[in-house]
């Protein structure tokens, strides 16, 4: 022992201190480096811009939000805090993230309570049915955005345990914990793709104008009604045994196994998490409201389809815990149209659907919970851009030509509108549509001069008609906008090639299908904000086909932020 003490003497304090400083500097450099290496998830069309949404939330003033929305992408798409504020003057924030398990909702809420004191926490019930281990990416998107601290460490530890392939504390879990603690292990290969934006704006004051909502304007019909969805679910629930009959050469083999085609059971731990969330809200003096943002999709293709069975089970769970539950699909009459109010076959609400849901919540929540209605300077400031983007979103989700033209007319000073006929636009052009075209300032006699299968070109810039013309031959015009930018427009009727083309900044924007092809350019940014074709070539069947240029509105906002650098174009 004495010998050991004697020989250990060379361990000098100086060396120890030097080693310690070396390690500390190394760690600091490592953390700094990994800050730049983590993707910001704000790239267009990627992960619904979670990073911007969460950073904006954590950068807000303290105790600002009266209401917090939490849950999966259903609530992220389906509730607009800005609309909520516009309607009720109550501030709120949407903390919904893609595939958010209820356990992650808990940890997010815990971190939210560190800076905010919401009176009401609104949780979407879909997370109740999500197996928490299945959505690994949901954790990986959120955790890097959480503020550093004990809560983040606990979230990491839970993530590592729950998504590890082996036992909760097996070796895989340690690796996962290590990887999430040092995300650079996962993202270090991004050194090849680092861009300027990975270094700048990193610590800037983020300001997500949508307060967390992911605005989506794509219209994709859900294809079925809620009744049919429940009918299908009933069929799936009654079929729990799978069987297979096969021949391998002459040998016949029949096998069967218990398989679940659609589940209505809440995973064991999720009910406990709901209780924990309720307790957490209680402890912070907040009310918890469990809602379900409507989705209508066949359970055959979407295991999270929201059927009546699930709704009743969620209601029962809420009753047991003693919290209010509102199913906005079955309990409220929101007049949602499965044809036009959903974005991806019924899986998520689009801008139109989200507005209906938000309107309902804005009427219900402040009243029910007696929330204070005040003017908020940040929200008021954001409202200007929000309204501008709302107008664009309205254009992108409008399916009737007269209505569309009226929307354009209402905001015409902000747009340059280019039109070109492809094949024919006359056969189904209604009086209302003609009147709306005339209201835009067009002088063409659509009733008498424009004939069946004629070409037609028009350009209106800020309300001023720059050019309009019609012909029974192919037309090609190089038109100049008031800002001197050029658009090369081509139009030809059925007999001369049935084609429409609108080339702006060397990019083709025309949908080039039958009817009136319209391209709308935002005058301020010079960006194409909508591209649509109304098929007025058929008097019986008029359809609108949107080729959305701004499916992702945060992209537009980012563009606004860094003017002159278009995103995905």
């Amino acid at each position: 022992m004495e010998n050991s003490k004697q020989t250990d003497k060379p361990i000098k304090n100086r060396y120890f201190l030097r080693g310690l400083i070396f390690v500390i500097i190394g760690f600091l450099m490592l953390f700094c480096l990994q800050t730049f290496m983590i993707p910001r998830w704000n790239y267009p069309d990627f992960a619904e811009n979670i990073s911007y949404s969460l950073h904006t939330f954590y950068n807000q003033d303290k105790n600002k939000d009266e209401v917090l929305f939490l849950g999966t992408s259903h609530i992220q798409y389906g509730v607009s805090p800005m609309k909520f504020y516009e309607q009720s003057k109550v501030t709120s924030y949407n903390l919904g993230t893609s595939g958010q398990p209820i356990s992650l909702s808990y940890y997010l809420l815990e971190s939210a309570f560190e800076t905010q004191s919401p009176k009401v926490v609104v949780l979407d019930a879909s997370g109740l049915f999500l197996p928490e281990e299945r959505f690994e990416t949901a954790w990986k998107y959120v955790i890097p955005c959480m503020p550093d601290g004990w809560n983040k460490l606990r979230t990491m530890a839970y993530y590592a345990g729950v998504t590890g392939d082996r036992s909760r504390y097996g070796s895989k879990c340690w690796t996962r914990f290590f990887n999430i603690l040092f995300p650079i292990t996962e993202y270090h290969m991004r050194w090849k793709e680092l861009k300027q934006e990975d270094f700048v704006d990193r610590f800037a004051d983020n300001n997500n104008v949508f307060a967390g909502q992911f605005v989506y304007t794509l219209i994709t019909s859900s294809g079925i009604t809620a009744d049919r969805m429940n009918e299908i679910a009933g069929m799936l629930l009654g079929d729990s045994t799978g069987w297979t009959d096969e021949f391998f050469g002459m040998q016949n083999k029949t096998s069967s196994e218990e398989t679940v085609l659609y589940s209505t059971a809440i995973p064991e731990s999720n009910e406990e998490w709901l209780r924990k969330i309720a307790d957490l809200c209680n402890a912070h003096g907040s009310e918890l409201l469990l809602i379900k943002v409507p989705t209508i999709q066949s359970p055959v293709v979407y295991t999270s389809a929201w059927t009546k069975n699930r709704s009743e089970i969620a209601r029962k769970a809420a009753q047991e815990i003693g919290i209010t539950y509102w199913d906005l699909l079955y309990d409220a009459n929101l007049s949602l149209d499965p044809e036009t109010d959903f974005s991806d076959g019924g899986g998520h609400l689009n801008y139109r659907g989200a507005n209906k849901v938000t309107q309902f919540l804005a009427d219900y929540i402040p009243e029910q919970y007696m929330l204070e209605r005040t003017d908020d300077p940040v929200y008021d400031n954001n409202m200007l851009l929000y309204k501008k983007l709302s107008n664009i979103a309205r254009l992108q989700t409008e399916t009737g030509l007269p209505e569309y033209l009226r929307l354009l007319d209402a905001d015409i000073e902000n747009y340059a509108v280019c039109m070109a006929c492809c094949d024919d636009m006359k056969a189904g052009l209604t009086d209302k549509a003609e009147a709306a075209l005339a209201a835009l300032g067009l002088r063409t006699d659509f009733e008498n001069v424009l004939k069946y299968q004629n070409a037609f070109i028009a350009l209106i810039d800020g309300g001023e008609v720059i050019y309009e013309g019609t012909s029974n031959r192919r037309m090609e015009r190089l038109l100049t906008l008031t800002n001197q930018e050029k658009i090369l427009v081509t139009s030809s009727g059925y007999k001369t090639g049935a084609r429409a083309s609108m080339q702006y900044r060397n990019v083709e924007y025309a949908g080039n299908i039958r009817g009136i092809n319209i391209v709308v350019i935002d005058k301020e940014t010079g960006r194409v904000v909508d591209q649509v074709v109304f098929d007025t070539g058929d008097e019986n069947r008029q359809t609108a086909t949107h080729f959305n240029m701004l499916k992702n509105f945060n992209e537009y906002w980012l563009y606004e932020k860094d003017k002159g650098q278009p995103g995905s174009e």
């Binding site: 022992m1 060379p10 000098k12 340690w174 690796t175 270090h188």
Partner: protein, 517 residues
């Protein structure tokens, strides 16, 4: 199994180091033993039991040999001594047979079960498959130990646990180097005091190893796997890229691992034998094998080649040849036969497939023929007025050795002889030089930036190797630098691994190429 490139391993090594230097000096070997057992047990308890059996067998065989040798020393008379010596050979042979049987079982049973059973992953078949970690390495170490005890070059280890530590010492169990008990055993048994200098050197060396492995070897593995794994998709010159990549991949992978394990050992104050001495500076095939995996070469030399050379059987054969064909032929037999055996065994050590046997024959033939025709080659060189001492000639010899090694890689790297032959024919018959300029090389898994990283990494290794060849001690040079410069170097190396390394989720960088042996 705990990989050298895993979070668990870094935590493990940190804990072991802390514990090692915290407890009293004389009991520090116990920490190493427990750590080695733990490390080994992580690869599976059945493997661990298998290893214990081998260790216990060697332990008793060693004691028995020592007893018989001691008895032969004490015996009176030449005949009595000889009889005793013969008796000592019994435990030696028994021990070697047991160890080789276990090696054979582990290597062959695996292939056999796969041949016979449809689903070897389950049931009895799965139970029978035991592939202990580093079985070839510890088997060779123990055979060497028994032979050394028999030849009285070493003393038998009387403490079973110390022998087990020598056998399973965790840094070297994965890929060697193959240690001698006489050198490593005492180092492991005695505790080492903390030396700041050694500790820093150890970390530095490990870091260098991780750089070689993660930045270069694993990056090159992408194209090697793509080109050799899907060889039917490619043809012609692109395979030259695969061969070159495969050569550097093997070197940086294996020598990188050696740097890691030698570095880790250095942190404990233990010096392992060097396994690589800049092999690409070799000017002949035999020199190459003295520089590449040198502990294996030395093992074969000491325990196979030399016993064969001095064996009465070979002497008898040589005598017969001498009587019939003359002295020169006898000398050739004396050189060629042991070398042929050594290279056949070396081939088998690397793998039991026909490609490895051909590979052994390939290397054996080159080395034997170079020896046999040495006078003729010398004569030819003088006829051609080759200046043997000129730099140009030396460079050519180095390049020639590199090509020989690359050809050897072509035999084993593609995975089967048929594939190797197909690739060889494709290189010779398909003229496709445009693959180097038309962007094909960027479509095989690596992009331009990756190639730049690989080339810069190899350039760095080359520069350092050149300096080392000139006798400069790079580590001492680094240690002599002012502190800020030194730290910049360390941080630079560390962050280049962090940024440019192939690791983390989605990468399988846990395994090393020589770990399967």
């Amino acid at each position: 199994m705990m990989s050298l490139i895993s979070f668990q391993f870094f935590v493990f090594i940190g804990a072991v180091l802390l514990l090692y230097y915290l407890i009293p000096l004389r009991t520090r070997w116990v920490v190493l033993l427990c750590a080695s057992f733990f490390f080994y047990a992580c690869s599976g308890w059945r493997s661990f039991l298998f290893v214990l059996c081998a260790g216990v067998s060697a332990y008793f065989a060693g004691l028995w040999i020592e007893k018989e040798i001691a008895a032969s020393g004490a015996a009176d008379g030449k005949e009595e001594k000889a009889a005793r010596k013969k008796r000592a050979a019994i435990p030696l042979i028994t021990g070697i047979v047991i160890l080789l049987a276990m090696l054979f079982y582990s290597k062959v049973i695996h292939s056999l079960i796969y041949m016979l059973a449809d689903t070897p992953e389950t049931g009895l078949s799965a139970f029978l498959i035991i592939v202990p970690l580093g079985i070839s390495y510890y088997t060779f170490s123990l055979i060497g130990y028994l032979a050394d005890v028999y030849w009285k070059k070493d003393r038998a280890e009387h403490n079973l646990f110390r022998l087990l530590l020598y056998m399973t010492y965790f840094p070297h169990i994965l890929q060697g180097p193959i240690p001698r008990h006489g050198k490593l055993g005492p180092q492991l048994s005695q505790g080492h005091t903390f030396s700041y200098r050694k500790f820093c050197f150890g970390l530095q060396r490990s870091l260098w190893g991780y750089f070689k492995k993660l930045v270069i070897a694993d990056r090159l593995a992408v194209i090697v796997n793509e080109l050799f794994g899907n060889s039917a998709k490619y043809e012609g010159g692109i395979f030259l890229v695969a061969i070159a990549a495969s050569v550097f991949q093997l070197y940086t992978d294996f020598s990188g691992c050696m740097d890691i394990v030698i570095g880790i050992s250095e942190c404990f104050g233990i010096e392992l034998e060097e396994n690589f001495r800049r092999p690409f500076f070799s000017r002949s095939a035999s020199e190459f094998w003295r520089r590449w995996h040198s502990t294996l070469g030395m093992w074969f030399k000491d325990y196979v080649y030399m016993p064969l050379v001095v064996s009465p059987l070979l002497a008898g054969i040589a005598k017969t040849v001498q009587n019939r064909k003359g002295r020169k032929a006898a000398r050739n037999v004396m050189t060629a036969v042991p070398l042929a055996v050594v290279w056949l065994l070396t081939g088998l050590w690397h793998g039991t497939g026909p490609d490895y046997i051909v590979w052994g024959i390939y290397w054996g033939s080159i080395i034997i023929l170079t020896g046999v025709f040495a006078p003729q080659i010398k004569k030819l060189n003088s006829l051609l007025h080759v200046e043997a001492g000129s730099e140009l000639w030396k460079k050519w010899q180095m390049f020639r050795t590199f090509l020989i090694f690359a050809m050897g890689r072509l035999i084993t790297a593609p995975g089967s002889l048929k594939k190797s032959a197909g690739i060889f024919c494709s290189i010779l018959t398909k003229w496709t030089p445009w693959v180097f300029t038309d962007g094909t090389i960027y479509r095989i898994g690596l992009d331009r930036a990756d190639y730049v990283v690989v080339l810069l990494g190899l350039l760095l290794i080359w520069r350092i190797s050149c300096r080392q060849e000139q006798g400069q001690n790079i580590r001492e040079m680094v240690a002599a630098l002012p502190l800020p410069l030194r730290w910049i170097l360390y941080y630079g190396l560390f962050f280049s691994i962090i940024l440019f390394g192939f690791y983390g989720p989605g990468y399988n960088s846990g395994s090393f190429m020589y770990m399967k042996y």
